[in-house]
């Protein structure tokens, strides 16, 4: 038979009425190889197929049976090609929301995208993801999405919208007023082309790039240092010594997923690697990255510039050229300088500040250290965060001056996240025509005249060039759910071009990129291959030569001469790994994600150092007012710099969905500015305690290890001379290990998981991935306050040592799948038993909810459905769904392979048994052995740090077995003799003791 490929995604559409669906036919591309093989293997017997089929029907049945009343189940009248019921298809795509970039695979089941996974073919993100990327699939099913075009809030047709908008635009350009396209940094070459087309169609068109969380300081600095405003690409993997000044590069700074991938290359000590980078971190507020550093130095943000200057002059002295006038550097700085000089060309200094001056200083520091060309590449540049603050400031002035005739807002939300949102709003009144092409209803789209909703990225075609020469494609994984239209298509339409954006992209790629790859005969095959891979790396480099000039930095140094560090209370404004800038605030998964540092969710708050709290006698969760503008609960944060406060941005949303509205306070208005650039901290804030308090939902209330050897640590030096260092307790336990009954031997598979605590950064991507894969319910703030969060995997965070400057240690904990599981023994109805592959399995339908197992679990990983969180209960009207996660729309994200748990049932991590089954079937249909690493649980898949390894313990060569064999491996509470199937590798910090 002729090899059968999958047809274009368009054919997923059940109704083929719209004309632009048809000519997609003829496009061919593969889906993931495994899938293709599984389905085209001639040896696939009918029985096997039925088994595969039956498995999913069964699970789907389970999902809807039992206590859950059966809902709509419409069989296909004509089975569309490309959909095998119960078979997931994966489509390569690109996640870019104006802030984060990630090359992804979209898992589609029965026409619904249900899961996002990292695309390992991308050499930028290398298969890694972060929490927001994982959660982005849920935004597709956001109840608050714009469902159709509208004018002043009332629905209109696209035709009407087009005609009215075009008229207005013409009017504006004829009355030579400005036509402004306001967008976040555009990394899509095709989109840029489309915008250019638009600009050439309408005189006076102007593109204003607006980033809610900009890097304009760096752009300015690089302009003055190198003559070009650009963001270089950093190479943490090439650096032996990483010095970060408040750059949260593992969490929120520029390209965290990419940096995490690079970072861990030199942090993992497995498979014989004995070399490890050293990471020194300066910061005021406790951040994810800071808490992972080998040395964390507390530095108040307003002192950072001076310290950088001192470091620079110290370096200059050590390299022979002195700078007068600066205060004498502290010994630490001297020491640091010496250290850096020893690592010339193998070090990397980064700075998270948005101050041009500080970036200038850092530029020269790296220049002196010869890091340019070594750990910093200037010929490959990062294309995100191109926004320049002064451009936006000017726009606001122009709007208020009535110079703007038309304002086209492309999925940005200045009325929420622009510090001077009020002026912007006033200006908006004076704009002739305003239209928002935003996906989800928000503050801005509520204020514009028109709303022309864009597709969600999973519905749209798009392309991207995140870094010079690193291209990737987005393709629709589902037909648009609502009456939306790709923003680019709108622009093209208005500029008189009726081609759909997909063909536009194809044309662009054919014209500009096909030439860069001569390994394909036809463009079609090139296109199909790239669409299949999702990425195309042309190897293009920037041509503009960069030459370093020091004049600017000298001015800075001069300006600092004789200055001293002011003693004031500083406020840091940061974005967390959850809701980030607030664009995703309406995503319940992200709202309920415990912050890696504070373990709090569903709110923002003021982090305050224990010392300052004591002085001002502010108690935990007491309300405090900052600069008489916002009032938030205080959280006493160990390790916070004495006089540094921190508040997360991204909260206090309005006019958007239920989950986000009114959660926390909007801190954007607090953002200050320096030399025209937004600065992420303000010095000298006034802090006034209120005499009331406000409960903050935290998933962990006790932060000390109580001297228990749960989390084992050592230093690199100790480790190098004795690999068992810090892990003595393990060998002690092994020595005493005794059992009163014979050890169960598992023939065939014995699944196990190993977690490298040296790699784990605590970024929480695994938590969201797990929730997404396993339909883990969202319970809302009240329930989290009652300690009833449902996460199957959690990241325990403990503080060690001095409360004012503690060490932070983290440990991901999920079901340990003990071979002597205390929980299994005590279940009266045998609802939880041990599988013959060593998995501790739950039969939800058998569970009667005595909670005996949960009590008896030493790891406390079992979760109980205290209320009807999922709507699966047989009683009506008792649902507990404060975040509207059980609406029909939201339910589309559910994974049909995983049972929905009813009220009164215990649930817990299953090692993603559904994935194990799926891959077993694939292997069976191909009649071969399972390959090591073929089965990847959701948490491991999501982990950018590759900290989680899963596999067969019976296979002595499997990666997990190798990890288990390592001297660093130990088991949590092994002295209790539960025989866990999860192992942990001791954390090694590269610090001298």
């Amino acid at each position: 038979m002729e090899k059968k490929y999958f047809k274009s995604i368009e054919e997923l559409r059940i109704d083929t009425s719209r004309e632009n669906d048809i000519h997609a036919a003829g496009d061919k591309f593969y889906i993931l190889d495994a899938q293709r093989e599984a389905l085209t293997l001639p040896s696939t017997t009918r029985r096997d197929f039925l088994k595969a089929f039956g498995f999913t029907i069964a699970s789907a049945a389970v999902a809807t049976s039992c206590e859950q009343p059966v809902r709509k189940a419409i069989p296909f009248l004509i089975q569309p090609e490309g959909i095998i019921p119960g078979k997931a298809s994966y489509y390569a795509s690109t996640f870019y929301d104006g802030i984060d970039y990630c090359s992804v695979l979209v898992k589609v089941r029965d026409g619904r995208p249900i899961k996002i996974e990292g695309n390992s073919l991308s050499s930028v993100t290398k298969g890694g993801t972060n929490a927001r990327t994982q959660a982005s699939v849920l935004n597709l099913y956001d109840n608050a999405r714009h469902k159709n075009p509208s004018k002043n809030g009332s629905e209109i047709s696209w035709e009407q919208l087009d005609s009215e908008v075009i008229a207005k635009i013409r009017e504006a350009s004829s009355s030579n007023k400005k036509i402004v396209i306001l967008t976040s940094s555009v990394i899509s070459p095709s989109t840029n082309a489309a915008i250019n087309d638009f600009a050439s169609a309408f005189a006076g068109t102007e593109l204003v790039t607006y980033d809610a969380f900009p890097a304009s300081g760096m752009l300015d600095a690089n302009e003055s240092s190198f003559g070009v405003p650009f963001i270089p690409s950093y190479r943490f993997d090439k650096a032996d010594l990483i010095v970060s000044f408040d750059a949260d590069f593992l969490g929120s700074w520029l390209s965290p997923v990419e940096y995490t991938k690079q970072y861990i290359v030199n942090r993992k000590l497995v498979d014989g690697q004995r070399k490890m980078s050293r990471h020194i971190h300066f910061e005021g507020a406790m951040s994810l990255t800071g808490s992972n550093a080998d040395y964390r130095v507390q530095l108040r943000p307003s002192h950072q510039k001076m310290v950088l200057a001192q470091l620079l002059s110290e370096l200059r002295q050590q390299s022979g050229s002195a700078t007068p006038g600066l205060g004498d550097a502290s010994n630490d700085v001297k020491e640091l300088a010496k250290n850096l000089m020893q690592h010339k060309g193998k070090s990397l200094v980064v700075c998270g500040s948005n101050s041009r001056d500080e970036q200038l200083l850092v530029n020269e520091i790296n220049q002196i250290l010869g890091n340019y060309g070594a750990t910093i590449e200037t010929d490959i540049q990062l294309k995100t965060r191109q926004g320049l603050n002064h451009r936006v400031t000017r726009l606001v002035e122009e709007m208020n001056a009535g110079k703007v005739g038309a304002l086209i807002i492309m999925d940005v939300n200045p009325l929420y996240d622009y510090p001077q949102a009020a002026q912007f709003a006033q200006g908006l009144q004076k704009v002739g025509m305003s239209i928002a092409l935003n996906v989800i209803s928000d503050e801005t789209s509520a204020a514009t005249t028109f709303v022309g909703p864009d597709h969600h990225y999973l519905e749209a075609w798009n392309d991207a060039e995140v870094k010079t020469g690193f291209y990737s494609l987005s393709q629709p994984a589902i037909r648009p759910i609502f009456n939306t239209r790709s923003a680019q298509e709108s622009l093209l339409k208005w500029s008189g071009n009726n081609t759909d954006f997909r063909s536009y992209i194809k044309a662009y790629w054919q014209k500009n990129l096909f030439a860069a790859d001569n390994s394909y005969l036809s463009f079609e095959s090139f296109w199909n291959a790239k669409l299949h891979d999702g990425v195309f790396e042309s190897g293009r480099k920037e041509t503009v030569a960069v030459a370093y000039t020091a004049d600017a930095v000298n001015k800075v140094l001069a300006s600092l001469a004789g200055k001293t560090m002011a003693d004031s209370i500083d406020l840091v404004l940061y974005t967390n790994v959850g809701v980030g800038t607030g664009k995703h605030a309406n995503n319940p998964w992200l709202q309920e994600l415990p912050d890696p540092v504070t373990k709090a969710c569903w709110d923002n708050y003021v982090m305050i150092s224990p010392r300052l709290a004591e002085e001002l006698n502010i108690s935990d969760e007491q309300l405090v007012t900052i600069n008489d503008s916002i009032t938030l609960p205080a959280i006493i944060q160990p390790g916070q710099e004495y006089k540094t406060l921190a508040v997360a941005l991204g909260y206090g949303r309005q006019n958007t969905g239920v989950p986000a509205n009114g959660v926390g306070q909007n801190a954007y208005p607090l953002l200050g500015s320096e030399a025209g650039n937004i600065s992420f901290y303000i010095a000298g804030v006034a802090l006034s305690p209120q005499n009331s308090s406000y409960p903050v939902a935290r998933t962990q209330s006790h932060h000390s290890l109580e001297g228990r050897e749960l989390l084992r640590e050592t230093t690199l030096e100790e480790y190098l001379e004795n690999p068992q260092a810090g892990n003595e307790a393990h060998f002690e336990a092994e020595h005493h290990k005794k059992s009163m009954y014979p050890k169960v031997e598992f023939d065939g598979m014995h699944w196990g998981m190993a977690i490298d605590m040296n790699a784990c950064t605590g970024c929480n991507a695994c938590v969201v991935a797990c929730s997404s894969e396993n339909n883990v319910p969202v319970v809302g703030k009240e329930q989290v306050l009652a300690s009833r969060e449902m996460h199957w995997i959690r990241i325990d965070r403990y503080y060690n040592g001095d409360i004012n400057d503690p060490e932070v240690v983290r440990q991901p904990v999920m079901c340990q799948h003990c071979d002597n599981a205390p929980c299994e023994n005590v279940c009266p109805v045998a609802a939880t038993t041990h599988s013959n592959e060593g998995i501790n399995q739950m039969a939800y339908n058998r569970c009667i909810g005595t909670r005996y197992c949960a009590n008896n679990c030493p790891y406390k990983v079992r979760r109980f459905n205290f209320l009807d969180y999922t709507g699966a209960d047989s009683f009506k009207g008792n649902r507990m769904d404060p975040t509207e996660m059980t609406t029909d729309l939201r339910r589309l994200v559910l994974n049909p392979d995983v049972t929905i748990r009813a009220k009164g049932v215990i649930e817990k991590c299953s090692f993603c048994v559904q994935r194990i089954q799926e891959k077993k079937l694939v292997a069976k249909t191909e009649n071969r052995e399972l390959r090591d690493g073929e089965i990847v649980p959701a948490c491991a898949q999501a982990c950018a740090a590759e900290a989680i390894v899963f596999g067969n313990l019976n296979d002595k060569n499997s990666k997990v077995s190798r990890y288990f064999a390592s001297e660093r491996n130990y088991h949590l509470l092994e002295e209790v003799h539960t025989l866990p199937s999860v192992g942990y590798l001791t954390k090694v910090k590269n610090k001298s003791v």
Partner: protein, 392 residues
């Protein structure tokens, strides 16, 4: 008919003396056949403890029934008192045993020079001086109380003056309270600390239940022996029936505690606890099950019927078996820790020493029996006890 004044005749004395001689001999033989210091020490401890506990149960028997104001047992109260006469003797031997190197020989925690970190945590309790203080307090309290109770009981027999009965009640109450605590703590000191890492909260009561069963077996044996010799004819089937019920009940009680301790440790399977039974399973498999058979299965099945408890032909053999059974039980508790699985065994030393101690115990008991009428006629409940009949 005066079968109430017991005379300790030559024949009996010689028998006991011979037995003691056998014991001493076996000690010598054992020493020269290289049974090993530990093993001899362990056996001395075992028998010392075992027969001391016989004396204690004798006293406990009297005390409990006195405060319970029950009448039936007054007829054999003297037997309990006589057994308690062994307390000071056994106590003294125990002290000597510890002082003359027994302590250092078999108690690992006495080796201060090399203690692992677990034992170091316990030093506040497990240290030699404190151990001796406790030892002396326990033995002192027991001996004194035994002495005064006996005194009061004899005084009561003079003219049945109620004040002595009151006195007996007070003393009994005091003893029961003291014994409740000391029996537990002493079992930790002398037995549990032989495996100093291991611990079990139930241990003290488990040991106590073992004492009870064996102690009542001994009471039955002494009484029947006396009856055989034609004394205490006033002790009728009803009395024996009750003693039989005790033996039956306490054997089940012992089994119950044995099971509770074993099952809970087996179930949780935590190494720090399981090590105790794993050791015993490994080296003492047969003994492990024999223990259960002798102390539970035999009395449970044989003493179930009413008849069995009333017919000495059944009661006495069962009593003997239980007596041996709890010796084995104690063997299980002591040997693995004191001697270690490889070196422990049952040979001349074990048998001989036991015979020796039995002789000594017999001698002391019967000697004390001979010093007073076998029943206290003036006891207010004496008549009750004589006219004692019940249909169950």
């Amino acid at each position: 008919m005066d079968n109430l004044t017991f005379k300790l005749d030559k024949k009996l004395i010689t028998i006991f003396l011979v037995m003691i001689a056998v014991g001493l001999l076996s000690l010598v033989i054992g020493y020269f056949t290289g049974a090993g210091g530990n093993r001899i020490a362990a056996n001395l401890l075992l028998n010392n403890y075992y027969f001391l506990s016989m004396g204690l149960i004798g006293l406990f028997f009297v005390a409990v029934h006195t405060i319970a104001e029950s009448g039936w047992q007054t007829s054999m109260q003297r037997v309990g008192e006589a057994m308690s006469a062994f307390i000071p003797v056994g106590g003294l031997l125990l002290v000597l045993f510890f002082i003359l190197g027994g302590l250092h020989a078999i108690y690992p925690w006495t080796h201060e020079d090399h203690l692992d970190e677990i034992l170091l945590k316990k030093v506040a309790y497990l240290n030699v001086p404190f151990f001796y203080i406790r030892l002396v307090v326990f033995l002192g309290a027991w001996s004194l109380l035994a002495h005064f109770l006996r005194k009061a009981s004899l005084a009561l027999d003079v003219n049945g003056d109620m004040q002595y009965l009151k006195k007996m009640r007070t003393l009994s109450a005091v003893f029961v309270v003291v014994f409740a605590v000391t029996s537990v703590v002493s079992s930790w000191d002398w037995l549990m600390s032989l495996d100093p890492h291991w611990f079990s909260t139930l241990y003290g009561w488990y040991v106590f239940s073992s004492m009870l069963a064996s102690g009542f077996a001994m009471i039955i044996l002494v009484v029947s022996l006396l009856k055989n010799m034609g004394y205490m004819t006033h002790v009728n089937d009803e009395h024996m029936h009750d003693l039989g019920k005790y033996l039956f009940g306490f054997s089940i009680f012992w089994a119950y505690l044995w099971f509770s301790q074993y099952m809970l440790i087996w179930y949780a399977n935590m190494p720090e606890e399981t090590v105790y039974f794993i050791e015993r399973h490994k080296y003492f498999t047969e003994v492990f099950y024999v223990n259960l058979f002798l102390n539970f299965v035999v009395p449970f099945l044989l003493l179930m019927t009413r008849r069995a408890k009333r017919v000495s032909g059944v009661l006495v053999p069962v009593a003997i078996i239980v007596f041996i059974g709890h010796w084995v039980d104690l063997y299980m508790m002591i040997m693995p820790g004191a001697v270690g699985g490889e070196h422990a065994g049952i040979g001349i030393v074990e048998v001989g020493l036991t015979i020796g101690y039995l002789g000594l115990f017999g001698l002391v008991t019967f000697w004390s029996l001979a010093k007073a009428p076998l029943a206290s006629k003036k006891h207010p409940y004496y008549k009750e006890s004589m006219e004692y009949h019940t249909n169950y």
